[in-house]
């Protein structure tokens, strides 16, 4: 149970507070309702580039990081297809500094050509380090446009292409800020050694002077139903073949989200899971195999991916995956198997409560999803899932017509 308190400012900023006096720290977390899906298809990678620019200084504060360090804090941010999140973790008696910093950069960012130039280069290096210079790094760049033909999930947060980041202008960046970075488009969550009324007072003090902004109503193109299997084979300088199968599933807020989540757990969460025991241990067709869901706000993907053992043919490996998917769609999980994955969910919830960062971030995310109180109702939704639900979800998800498959082959391997 995560106890929390609410408040809302006149400009629309929602505030949530979870007091926890077992720690001397506090986390101040600000989540903006903007992500890669809100980008123009010819100007992708912006939400993420923007996240970097947020650290270059704001109207009254030259450097964001220095005041954080000065009060003994540390901070970071992440961007996804749906959201952009910023957090500061600092000694609780210094939280006002976080309010000062976050409110100033929500008010107005320091838009300078110098700042854009530096971050542009940093993001380009990030593109290379994570996506181009690592074995298997470009898988996301290949599978997304295969699975999505129309919806903006067809590109990853880093962007479709390095050139989009190379060509970004200061005006592009300013427009992005004023369209999406607004108090009425954000949730502020604070967890740790704090008193709710004090937090609300600080929020009024620092954030109420920021005007609400005209955030465009989100109207994204709907991905049409996929009607036949899509396949892509590429060759790369990697030591082993990788197979990745993506299936379309529903949205994070759909009632069957919990069913699909447990389906992925039954398949691959933990060493006793089906895919690991059958495909890695028993049949030794793969050296590693994973099944996971995207948890996206718009209809997302269920991914099954595996690294094929040398000497094994890709056809044999692929057939084995389909066999496992069809087994679970036919017979469903056993009683103990289902109880096991539910137990894991429960224990993970307990472990997550040890971190004020985790709690603050999750409160904010649940609020943007619709209602922060869901955070305490989750466990009931998981407990209500039956073996029948899982069987049905497997049957409707794991169809060839619903599948986009990437065969990522080792250039000099026996399969290429």
């Amino acid at each position: 149970m995560i106890e929390f308190y609410r408040h809302k400012l006149a400009n629309g900023l929602r505030i949530l507070v979870h007091p926890d006096n077992t720690t001397p720290m506090a986390t101040v977390n600000l989540l903006y309702d903007v992500g890669a899906r809100d980008e123009d298809p010819d100007k992708t990678g912006f939400a993420h580039l923007f996240e970097h620019l947020m650290f270059g200084g704001s109207r009254n504060i030259q450097s964001y990081d220095e005041p954080v360090q000065m009060v003994g804090g540390e901070n970071n941010a992440w961007t996804s297809n749906d959201f952009t999140n910023y957090y500061v973790n600092l000694p609780a008696n210094n939280i006002e500094t976080a309010f000062w910093l976050e409110s100033d950069r929500m008010l107005e960012l320091n838009f300078t050509p110098g700042n854009l130039e530096v971050q542009r280069k940093v993001v380009i290096e990030e593109f290379k380090q994570r996506y181009l210079n690592q074995p298997y790094g470009d898988i996301a760049l290949l599978i997304r446009p295969l699975a999505y033909k129309v919806h903006p999930y067809s590109w990853p947060t880093i962007g479709k292409d390095i050139s989009h980041i190379e060509n970004a202008t200061l005006d592009d960046v300013k427009n992005f800020f004023y369209r999406h970075y607004a108090p009425n488009n954000a949730v502020l969550a604070v967890a740790g050694n704090v008193v709710p009324d004090e937090v609300f007072r600080l929020a009024e003090k620092w954030f109420s002077g920021i005007p609400s902004r005209q955030v465009p109503h989100r109207k994204l193109p709907v991905e049409p139903v996929q009607t036949e299997m899509r396949e892509l084979t590429v060759k790369r300088k990697v030591p082993a073949d990788v197979l990745q199968l993506c299936f379309h599933i529903g949205k994070r807020n759909d009632p069957d989200f919990f069913v699909t989540d447990l389906l992925s757990d039954v398949l691959s969460n933990g060493p006793s899971s089906r895919l690991y025991q059958k495909l890695v241990k028993d049949e030794q067709l793969f050296s590693d195999v994973n099944a996971y869901i995207s948890g996206d706000m718009d209809p997302g993907l269920f991914t099954v991916s595996g690294r094929v053992m040398p000497g094994v043919s890709v056809e044999v490996a692929e057939t084995a995956i389909w066999r496992e998917l069809s087994d679970i769609a036919g017979a469903g999980p056993g009683e103990r198997e289902l109880q096991k994955v539910k137990n894991k969910v429960e224990s993970n919830l307990v472990f997550a409560e040890t971190s004020s960062l985790n709690k603050a971030m999750n409160l904010a995310i649940y609020e943007l999803m619709g209602d922060a109180a869901e955070i305490n109702r989750e466990i009931e939704h998981y407990r209500a899932v039956t073996a029948q639900h899982i069987r049905e979800a497997a049957a409707s998800t794991f169809r060839r017509e619903n599948c986009s498959i990437l065969r990522y082959l080792a250039e000099n391997g026996e399969n290429s």
């Binding site: 000065m70 003994g72 290379k128 060493p271 109880q339 224990s347 307990v350």
Partner: protein, 428 residues
Amino acid sequence: MVTDADRKTGPDFQVLGKAEFMPVGGFSLPNGIEVSLLEGGSQDISKIDWIFPAGAVQAGKPLLASTVGNLMLEGTKNRTSAEISDLIDFYGAHLNVQSYYHNSVLTLVCLTKDLPVLLPLVEDVVRNATFDEKEYLIYINKRRQEFVIDSEKVRNLAARTFNKVIFGPEHPYGRVPELEIFDTMTRDEVISFYKTNYVPAGCRIIVAGRPGTDIQELLTRHFGDKDWNGGLPSENGFPQISSSEEKFHLVEKEGSLQSALRIGRPLFNNHHPDFIPLQVLNTILGGYFGSRLMTVVREEKGLTYGIGSSIVSYKQGGIWVIASEVMGDMRQAAVDAIKGEMQRLVDEPVDEEELALVRNYMLGEMLREFDGPFNTSDIYRSLLEYGMDFGFYSKMMSVIREITAGELQELAAKYMRPEDFYVIVAGK
């Protein structure tokens, strides 16, 4: 509401006061194993570490210690690998073994209520592992695959070469695994190492969280057996380090867009009187996001996504190393920029504003590192290896508060001479 003036100055803040460390309790088991207890936190969860003298140093060769540690979990006289993993997963628990140079640590994290069911399992794994032939082969194949893939990454090539260059290829800290090792290691060696080193002599247990009042009884029952004995672990004698004569090493990797850099030198461990003061100098150089290296190499020149420096202590030595993956075509510019920042610390004293920032940042980091019983127990465990207690961190707090720019500059002059540093490049 605030005024523009308020926004320009910013709010008042406090600097970290006295550090308060969790009290550490404990007891001994009938067979002599010492158990430390760090109780606290808000949840009824437990983390238990079993430390065994079963690291790479005792093993005498690469791969052996970690193989034994991982394979212990893959089958005992009483349970198959599938049964063990099923039990762990059923209780939503985590059990794994991590191998280091001088020890291996088996860690269980679980809900406290499940300890009576899980501790017998851990006892079985520690005392009755069988290293089944089939499991052994599956494991070796998997590890070999991972090794091949890891060897494609420039950062791993740079890290391995760096250790080899600093300590020497025969030294336990410098030895690097080669592909052949996966074929020359035998199951017999694995079993023999397990029998000799996973024994009460030299074993230590650390419990953290809210383990409940039965914990002493449970640990005594499962790990206190006087009849549990085995071999006598040895550290195989410790050679001198044998650094390379050559200061520059390039490991070419075709097609690299980025090169991984390791620039560093041999140093000493945390017993040395200059170790703590050097931590402050290191933080300024590359130990946080606002460091000299991050500011110049990443923010000003855009040559990298990340760069940092660390002073690492080992039981028998230490290193100072700067690490980064930089734009391939600009590798020389990156190396020059790094060397330039090192020289600047030798030539110019740090100004008071920057020093104040680093002091406060380091004190905040300490608060974070000690936040909660699990974090605190990790630090406690790392101090044990050196025969130290939390007093080390009290001392660190004083040094952080009191060290002067003059002292820092003296340290720079002594330890940052360019001719003492090695440069390793993997890429181009």
